[in-house]
Symmetry: D2
């Protein structure tokens, strides 16, 4: 199998490369495109010295070799929409890490990403790459919109309750905590070590671009509009997302019953682990894995469902590989456990 990556200098692409090199299908990297062309991959990621001693090629979608099977786009939001039409035309199957093809409503996209959308046609073609719900569509998709890290955690945690109609869909609050790698690799004052170390803060309260993504897919699952309040926080750690979701139960539910329901809901999902009894998940147990760990509590008339995952793995790179596995008829778990 041959895979290309455009935008191959991001943290997400570093993880993608690491996991692809390990993949039992013998994935070959046919093209690593970047605006930092000419630099060696190991100059940007010294961890790959002696492992992948090649140089970046230009950031040029048209230069992706014809015999490439899958193209991963690990580019900043708004860049993929320039590349995707040309890649799809040439017949490539594409997995896009950005938000460009996740939202059905172009207006919502433009409002949250503060940028016009130049490829609305392909939004409809795109399949949301959350394999726990859309595996059949992913298998046939030419374009997969790989989910955001926050939405992966939030949707997976609330989905069973939404789908079973147990919660009031306008009562959902997601209070999320993320490690700093989620902000990318570009130095900025907010991510300067002496500034963000030993500190916590909230940002983009009720205004983060992942909020409509969560609402859209939870709404789909519930068959009803979802009103989600999403509040992200920055945590002084490299990786990991912890999502604490709150929702009002329509009627009293026993905690143990709710936990069983969530457990059964994910019975066939190899990467979802529902904690039993008193146990609650910790981000650390999911780092560098494709697992999303879920914990369930009922407090009075409210459900509290926590979920955690590695923002660069199940929240990004390994989820993309899970999608690739499905698209190419491999076992979902290939190269991921």
């Amino acid at each position: 199998m041959k895979a290309a990556i455009l935008g191959a200098t991001s943290y997400g692409s570093r993880e993608l490369i690491k996991w692809l090199l390990r993949h039992p299908a013998g994935v070959k990297l046919s093209y690593l495109g970047s605006r930092q062309e000419g630099m060696k991959v190991s100059d940007v990621f010294p961890v790959f010295e002696g492992v992948l001693d090649v140089a970046y090629q230009p950031h040029d979608p048209d230069a992706v070799p014809e015999d490439t099977d899958v193209v991963f786009l690990t580019l900043p939001h708004t860049v993929p929409m320039e590349c995707v039409p040309r890649l799809l035309e040439r017949g490539f199957r594409v997995i896009d890490f950005s938000g460009d093809y996740r939202l059905r409503n172009v207006d919502v996209y433009e409002k949250h990403y503060k940028h016009g959308h130049t490829d609305p046609a392909n939004i409809e073609e795109a399949v949301y790459g959350l394999p726990e719900f859309f595996a059949d569509e992913i298998a046939k998709a030419q374009l997969v919109a790989n989910p955001g890290c926050y939405p992966t955690a939030a949707i997976l945690s609330i989905a069973p309750l939404a789908k079973h109609g147990l919660i009031e869909m306008d009562s959902i609050i997601v209070d999320a905590k993320s490690g700093v790698s989620g902000a990318g690799n570009k130095p900025k004052p907010d991510y300067h070590f002496p500034h963000c170390n030993e500190s916590v803060h909230a940002y983009k309260v009720g205004a983060h671009q992942h909020e409509p993504e969560i609402a859209q897919y939870l709404g789909d699952l519930a068959g009803a509009e979802a009103n989600v309040l999403f509040v992200p926080h920055l945590i002084p750690m490299d990786r990991g997302i912890f999502s604490t979701a709150y929702a009002n139960l329509k009627k009293a539910v026993d905690e143990e019953e709710l936990r069983s329901l969530v457990t059964e809901f994910y019975e066939n999902a190899p990467f979802i682990r529902v904690k039993q009894g008193e146990n609650l998940p910790r981000t650390k147990d999911t780092i560098d894995t494709n697992f999303c760990d879920i914990g369930v509590r009922v407090v009075g008339q409210r459900a509290v469902v926590v979920a955690c995952l590695d923002n660069l793995a199940k929240g990004m790179a390994t989820q993309a590989i899970q999608n690739m596995n499905i698209m190419f008829g491999l076992k979902q778990t290939d190269g991921l456990v």
Copy 2:
């Protein structure tokens, strides 16, 4: 002025000592009691070597010198109730850091602290040491129940809305994030560096002993029963609490108006800083200060009020000194800015 400390080996007492030594009233430490009697203070806290070269005295409330003005109890929950009656009888004014005298309802105490209460009589005498609301009572109190770190942040953030009757008192959710010093200085697996570093998790979901403390005082302020869901999380940092409170607004409120209301509410509170405009607080800006920083957002029909403070300062030691200042007719800010 002469101050005694019982339980003087905790992190809270370390901070208390540091700030007392700096106090312009020239506070003398008349007694430092501990079960580690005989050890030097600087053996436990090397930071005090050359600053406070004395040894601990026994943990014995009866040995507190007669001429002591104020006794701080920085003891584990359930120990203060053994000491307080004897100290009050001897006429000392007492500031207790534990939860023993914060809850009016003995049953609620016994349920949450899993321990019988042997001194219910003095619960009624105790004044809750949140100076922003109870300064007059604190001034006259013989026994001050110094608030918990989480409740200080949560109550201060929600109080203006509760007091003004703007929110549904059964809709309050407090999602809090705390540094590890909040768990005390005793090594346990959960606080072992390679275990809790680079990780986040929730604990005691809807079952933390600070939940009824928050509900009781918010209910008092609102003149209505408060139903609070409190979910604490452990964050890999030494100090700091970030509290994110959610509540349904009874009717639509403009964000700027709400912010003005909160700002005015704390007009005369020297240690509350309400962030204006787009600004939101960060724990780091409150560390080693007695400030509680507050940020206000309105999202749809919900208010989101965030607050942060140093769990060992405004959440504990400096708040105690603020109480001491008030009790002894000093300026509230003496030794604290």
Copy 3:
């Protein structure tokens, strides 16, 4: 292939299990012994839930199944010497993570490990598991003494200079910095998060049990007694060792020449990466890999050679797998890149 692990609850065994499960030779875990028998592996290491759902078996060397190919001992120092004789007698090949079989001189062992040695006979049989130097002996060994984390970094960095006779063997200083996982998984005051976070200190100055290990093997390589001063420091991070070695050059050497010499020295060592030009290594680029990265500087008449690696990988678990590969005729790099 079948592998057993005794002492399978340590951080080292967690990493060992992770890498063995991924190994292309299809390594089966035939026995996971622990004094915490009965507990599930995923109770101790939740990261393995859904991956390895088995319970620990008793800590009993005699219970290791007959058809096991290799037994890994991830036990505390002094325990392996009780197990090794019985395991060797039964014909197993053994890779021991402890210091029990690394030092030729029993007196030196007893002095540094503060414990009598009950199996001196097998010390002579043991091969030191540093594949860069002893691959041929490892291939034939029944008992491999897997090196310590500090010595792996220190020896690998200084070896080329020692072997080429470039440095004064009594001038070697190794100033090493280690993440906290090197101290094991048992909570102690020194490793309590609020105590060791945001702090650095030196410990066991010139008295660490790894000092004679470094000296012994460097002496062997140089064919002359080595006098090494070893000073370890604890760093607030989970994993990683950074070793800064200083030695007096016997005669002036050009830095570029010395770098070339070190580079050539490791030409056939797939896991040693010698940084070229101005580049110096960082621990982070070696974490979760079997690489040891080396940097070379000449300052006046002194050589400064830095090395870094993951204390739980090349400093422990993956080095053990590299040894296993060699012992069983596999490619050294199998399952490790």
Copy 4:
């Protein structure tokens, strides 16, 4: 007393302001100059909101008010030499945080700071602000060159041995470890949280601008040329420097004797704490204090002397206040304990 600060947006000036505001001499900040003029101090340092609600004034040495007693320069290297002549002419006493006036030899300065020196005349007037050695000169100085953070730790640790002629002055190695705030507040790739967190590396090996500063003053103390090899490392923590110094002893010295000698050497130095017996210092015990903690070991024919301090306090801002105290006839410890 009136103090001005030029360059008042650096981490060092934040600490300086904090300690000055607390100073018992009632220090008034007469001028806070910065190129970020017009911004409020609390915009740059939110910790000062409600404490110091003023705006920055222009970066203009000539605008410093006439009645200012002392001018602190917390500017980047090479900027002070433009301001100092004008400030001295106007009669101000100046404490400069930069390296501009620390090195006697202009060539050495120009080589290490890669910048011509435009004010060599005043280098000779400047007194090195290490109060443990130069208190008399500081008392009379118009220009004090406040020492670098690394040199403060290194010189203080080695000085007693150098002064007593116990060590070979060409054998000194200083292996230092610093928190990230030492690198300043400007975001760069090396200090981007996900890059430098959980990692250690060495930098500027034998080429750091603090090396000649250490050598010059140790040489002075010994009355002999000092050859110092200085190797700094970056540690994932906010603050703190740990310096591990190695030197060959001219003749055998008993460790306890050496410790007594160092202890006596600093008998009258209120901010030096020499650890006794088995104790060794930790950076954390010096953070936010003006203390430098020292530990002494003898291993064979070598002395190992470790020292730690807060790079922003004794390594910068509080040392400057200690100097100010001395310059203005105050008690050395005023406002510092």
